[in-house]
Amino acid sequence: MNRINKKLLEDKKLLSIYFTAGYPSLNDTKAIIEDLEKSGVDMLEIGLPFSDPLADGPTIQASSTQALKNGMTTEVLFTQLKDIRKTVNIPLIIMGYFNPILQYGVEAFCKKCQEIGIDGLIIPDLPIDVYHEKYQTTFERHSIINVFLITPQTSEERIRYIDSISNGFIYMVSSASVTGSQSGFGEAQTQYFKRISNMKLKNPQIVGFGISDSKTFKQATQFTKGAIIGSAFIKYITKFGVKNLKRFIKQIKD
């Protein structure tokens, strides 16, 4: 069983952290992953930086730009992650835009992920129909779970379709926004979380965008399986460095 599916069976609200590989320094990747696991994080999204990240706000874009300047590439990331499964057990997901993956070759990329022990991919600009027609069998052959996004604007019919071709979890974007653009949830979000929860989908939902502290984590996970923190974590390591990640995680979990 894929580590993601196994993790989703645990009777707890899951905390997932996004970080940009190669930021703040090129070779921070492995240490960040190991420290976050030790700090009690349940799942990780490793951002493969892209020059033109359309769905991201200024925080993640700036970290991506810096990571690329530091020399991060697909090949470098794979090399850094080569032995990651000797020390790390939690599910690892690579989040990246489609063009770098397309240039590497989708088949080769999935194969490499499987070799390393990457469990899933999130590719925000890979259209669902293109995935379904061209790449689903490739992903499945290499036991890579593809995670799709839904937003408050996604129609019920489309959510059902996404649920039908997903085999891990659904990434619920909390509001119409890019990453890192809001703080706190209002009534509209709670209604949306509840509405999706009532749809009784086969895949659990994990909320992303807008989660930055223990309050928003609790709100986001009241009706869902877990939540993802990205921009707030990037801001934290920008300010405090990568030495004391436990402190950040502790303030979320308290």
Binding site: F50, S51, D52, P53, L54, A55, G57, P58, Q61, A62, T65, L68, T73, T74, E75, Y97, F98, N99, P100, I101, L102, Q103, Y104, P124, D125, L126, P127, V130, F148, L149, I150, T151, Q153, T154, S155, R158, V173, A176, S177, V178, S181
Partner: protein
């Protein structure tokens, strides 16, 4: 073989809508409605009326006698430079503002590089009384101060794009992000035949008026409605798409696409996407784009801000791959000299973008009986400073 878009939004292998889910409802709303709305007779009536009374269409198809004598062939200039706001860009913004109104949108966003599309968008927003926000790279804002002032006078808010390389591609990213953040009330007026489907097709259809006019105007001049060649410059490719549109499936008409070679194709400072680019995804579309081996989008360069884009529209990628259009590239130097030539021979100061198309005559010879139509996509007023610097005027 058809060179037009198929029902799934692709030109051959190129096109589609490679967009994050956050954009899906906006793009899908447009996709479901654009052809229906464009087919409405009320829409057509209003569009054509505005093109006539406001833009000043039809733009002349002018037989350039002295230029023809110099190059020993028959050269016609399609005078898009005479349109209101000085370029072909307004054809598209008129169409899209009418589209936005019918979709019930009251906030308009746009990206701009040199500022031509930004001015054309600000213009139609003023005309319709709609809020207008234009994203422009911080570097371009300083380079193109007069156009920034124009947009402000027309009531638009100009927001600097401070991310990445702070030029056109980043302005486009920012506009897309704005659309993600404002999915309900906002329409995004893309300025070229780029972006996710249906944009490339919609913009091409609004620009198609150019080749529609060429057909009947040429008939008046020559008694036939098809030229032997159509030449146009290609940045994203909207003026070329318009000039080619009605000739796409008529292979008697040879299509020449001119890209900006900047300081030389292999100088590292170029925007010749067909030569330097590879297939990939940019701004939601599968097409040819300039990128690193690792799939990071690289910065193009051209003396002409309108050609300074790292991709081409998917229609052009298809025309290139199938060989339907022949792609040529022209350096800064060659374009500037062709521009000055047109001033002296015909009394027309062209935009530097259009000068790239004109530079083809120095590189390719045509038969004396050939009818060659050049898309003179814009006028050179906006480029005066560059001309002054270049020729030390």
């Amino acid at each position: 073989m058809s060179y037009n878009i198929n029902e799934r939004g692709y030109y051959g292998d190129f096109g589609g809508a490679y967009i994050p889910e956050m954009l899906y409802p906006n793009v899908e709303e447009l996709r479901q409605n654009y052809l229906k709305i464009m087919a409405e007779s009320e829409f057509q009536k209003e569009f054509n009326q505005l093109l006539k009374d406001y833009v000043g269409r039809p733009s002349p198809l002018y037989f350039a006698k002295r230029l023809s004598e110099k190059y020993k062939t028959k050269i016609y200039l399609k005078r898009e430079d005479l349109n209101h706001t000085g370029a072909h860009k307004i054809n598209n913004t008129i169409g899209q503002i009418l589209m936005a109104k019918r979709l019930g949108k009251h906030r308009i966003i746009a990206e701009t590089g040199a500022g031509q599309h930004g001015v054309a968008t600000a213009t139609v927003c003023a005309l319709m009384g709609l809020e207008c926000i234009v994203y422009m790279g911080e570097i371009d804002i300083t380079r193109q101060a007069p156009n920034v002032a124009r947009m402000k006078m027309l009531g638009a808010t100009v927001i600097p794009a401070k991310s990445g390389s702070r030029t056109l591609k980043d302005a486009t990213n920012e506009a897309i992000r704005d659309w993600i953040n404002n999915p309900v009330d906002t329409h995004y007026i893309i300025g070229s035949v780029v972006g996710p489907h249906p944009y490339p097709d919609m913009v091409a259809r609004f620009q198609a008026v150019v080749s529609e006019e060429i057909q009947w105007q040429l008939h008046e001049h020559e008694g036939k409605s098809e030229p032997d060649y159509v030449i146009a410059c290609v940045g994203g490719g909207s003026n070329a798409a318009g000039a080619y549109y009605h000739f796409l499936d008529n292979t008697n008409v040879k299509l020449l696409a001119v890209e900006a070679a900047g300081k030389g194709i292999h100088s590292g400072e170029s925007a010749a996407t067909s030569v330097l680019g590879k297939e990939g995804i940019i701004h939601g579309s599968k097409t040819l784009l300039m990128q690193t081996n690792d799939g990071q989008i690289t910065e193009p360069y051209s003396i002409s801000a309108g050609l300074d884009y790292p991709g081409v529209g998917p229609m052009h990628a298809h025309l290139y791959k199938t060989g339907r259009a022949k792609f040529l590239s022209v350096t800064d130097e060659e374009a500037m000299s062709a521009g000055l030539d047109l001033c002296k021979l015909e009394g027309i100061i062209p935009a530097i973008e259009s000068s790239h198309a004109l530079a083809v005559f120095e590189k390719t010879s045509f038969n004396p009986t050939d009818i060659v139509v050049v898309s003179l996509s814009g006028r050179g007023d906006k480029d005066l400073e560059t001309y002054i610097k270049h020729f030390k005027l």
